[in-house]
């Protein structure tokens, strides 16, 4: 079943290309724009290059848009005539949901990985402590997929979920300081570092590359906690649609 869902999730080649090429273009564009300005990562980048920070930032941003992979796939099964076909079978609907979430996570994580590889090869970004960075990015993917799915199940359709994730994906990168420097106040510093799930993932990624393991662990643990919370939100929602 997972193989089928994996194939299904990865069939939209145009969508995949957009989620890989568009951030690459943006990374290149913002790198060019900020050549003479220090980008505000809130991390004191130290030895890390701007392009690395941008690559992480845009990878995390486009993971938010990538959450549509799971909820749009799920909506096709749950909120269309396909519902009756699937629910008339003896399959446990949780199996379907888990397989879609897993396959969408794999696809979104692959997009992120390809983006990092291209950023490294084409734009010269470097990623110290790559396995731990990837761990953070994986946690972020899982969060975003669960977040989109919970939204979709809560609202009973893709329309609101799409709208919320689009707005969320537009605003949150700004709070992380990805597009422009933020004011140097305590409020904005906290917002940038810990205020959003994307902020936590961004901080954790940059921290581990800087060797700040304590900060990395705090942010990753917070992100994992959010994932657990979303998982608990998901359970009653799945039960509600199960027969």
């Amino acid at each position: 079943m997972i193989a089928f869902q994996l194939k299904r999730s990865s069939r939209d080649l145009v969508g995949q290309a957009i989620l890989i090429l568009f951030p690459l273009i943006l990374i290149f564009f913002f790198d060019y724009l900020y050549k003479n300005i220090n980008i505000e990562t809130g991390m004191g980048m130290g030895g890390q290059s701007r392009i690395t920070a941008l690559a992480i930032g845009f990878a995390l941003t486009f993971q938010i848009y990538g959450s549509a992979i799971s909820f749009e796939t799920l909506a096709e099964d749950l909120y269309s005539p396909m519902h009756d076909r699937i629910f008339s079978s003896p399959v446990d609907i949780r199996k379907i949901i888990v397989s879609i979430l897993l396959s969408s996570t794999v696809v979104s994580f692959l997009q992120t990985s390809i983006l990092l590889v291209f950023s490294s090869i084409i734009l010269g970004a470097s990623f110290p402590s790559l396995p731990l960075v990837m761990l953070v990015l994986l946690a972020s993917v899982v969060f975003n997929q669960l977040f989109g799915t919970v939204l979709m199940l809560l609202t009973g359709g893709v329309k609101t979920a799409n709208m919320v994730t689009t707005i969320y994906g537009s605003i949150v990168p700004m709070t992380v300081g990805l597009y422009f420097p933020l004011p140097q106040t305590a409020f904005f510093r906290i917002l940038r570092l810990y205020g959003t799930p994307m902020g936590l993932a961004n901080t954790a990624s940059l921290a581990v590359m800087e060797g700040q393991i304590r900060l990395f662990l705090i942010c990753l643990a917070s992100l994992l906690l959010l994932i657990v919370l979303l998982f608990f939100c998901l359970r009653p929602l799945v039960r509600r649609i199960s027969i």
């Binding site: 194939k7 299904r8 005539p81 009756d84 003896p90 027969i243």
Partner: protein, 281 residues
């Protein structure tokens, strides 16, 4: 097998039988088991062909068949074997590796049916499986349904096309406004209505005098004369054709048509409504 008018509640009825929606009162027994909506054993033995085409257009025909079979717990080897059998039955052998978005409407309908047959269900429920397809595909599906029935499958087939029901149904259930109003074989249902028969006679030269003569026949209820056409109404089952022919033979007979009551007349008599497509007000 059944006949329903549109908006009769047929999909609701089917969804209740499958256990997709709860029922307000009463019980539904399927395979001698109570359908409470949670009985997976019942679902395991039902193949549901939805009215809308419910296949994944972006996945190949083979992937579709395999996926829906996997929902019924079939293992990979059995699925691979069964795909070839089903593909042959639905006539898609050479097109299994194509995506349904490249199929014709009829081919999609056939794949839609094939997906419901993969797990060899004891009961096949087909909800208007021929809606919106070309005559060849419709004919293919009807023959195929008859073949399935001949092989021993139990099929619930819903349609508001009379000719389809007459062609495939061994037993007919008529439903209207959420109620099952009649059931039986086609001859049984027709016998229930005792409807009038119509005799239409075209002659070379018609006359009012002959019309009056026809009206004087003891079993004739009504005679209408339009141009050179007589339309004679007689109670069902009364043999008067020979007497009609005798009276009109001097007028120069051109054509004679008799019309037996059909399923549409049964429906009309029982519900007072035409089988219709419009939304009720």
């Amino acid at each position: 097998m059944g006949l329903w008018s549109q908006w009769a509640g047929k999909t609701t009825c089917i969804r209740s039988i499958i256990g997709l929606i709860p029922i307000d009162e009463g019980t539904i027994t399927v395979f001698s088991q109570n359908q409470d909506g949670k009985n997976r054993e019942i679902r395991r033995n039902i193949g549901y062909v939805t009215q809308e085409i419910t296949i994944y257009e972006q996945m190949s025909g083979r992937d579709n068949l395999a996926f829906f079979a996997s929902l019924y717990g079939m293992d990979k080897q059995s699925i691979a074997r069964r795909i070839e059998e089903v593909a042959q039955v639905i006539g898609l052998e050479g097109r299994l590796d194509d995506k349904p978005k490249h199929y014709s409407g009829g081919m999609k309908r056939r794949l839609n049916i094939g997906c419901a047959l993969m797990h060899r269900p004891r009961l096949i429920i087909m909800d208007e499986p021929t809606v919106g397809i070309d005559p060849q595909s419709r004919s293919f599906i009807l023959s195929f349904v008859k073949q399935l029935a001949k092989e021993g499958s139990t099929i619930i087939y819903t349609s508001h096309y009379i000719e389809e029901v007459e062609a495939v149904a061994s037993r007919i259930y008529i439903m209207d406004s959420g109620h099952m109003i009649a059931q039986g074989t086609l001859p049984e249902l027709i016998a229930r209505i005792q409807g009038d028969h119509f005799i239409e006679v075209e002659v070379r030269i018609a006359s009012e005098e002959k019309k009056q003569q026809l009206l004087r026949l003891p079993d004739v209820k009504e005679v209408a004369l339009e141009g050179t056409h007589y339309r004679i109404v007689v109670p069902g089952g009364i043999p008067v054709l020979d007497k009609v022919v005798l009276i009109l033979s001097e007028q120069g007979l051109v054509t004679i048509n008799t019309k037996q009551p059909n399923l549409e007349d049964v429906f009309l008599t029982l519900t007072g409504k035409q089988l219709r497509d419009e939304v009720p007000s």
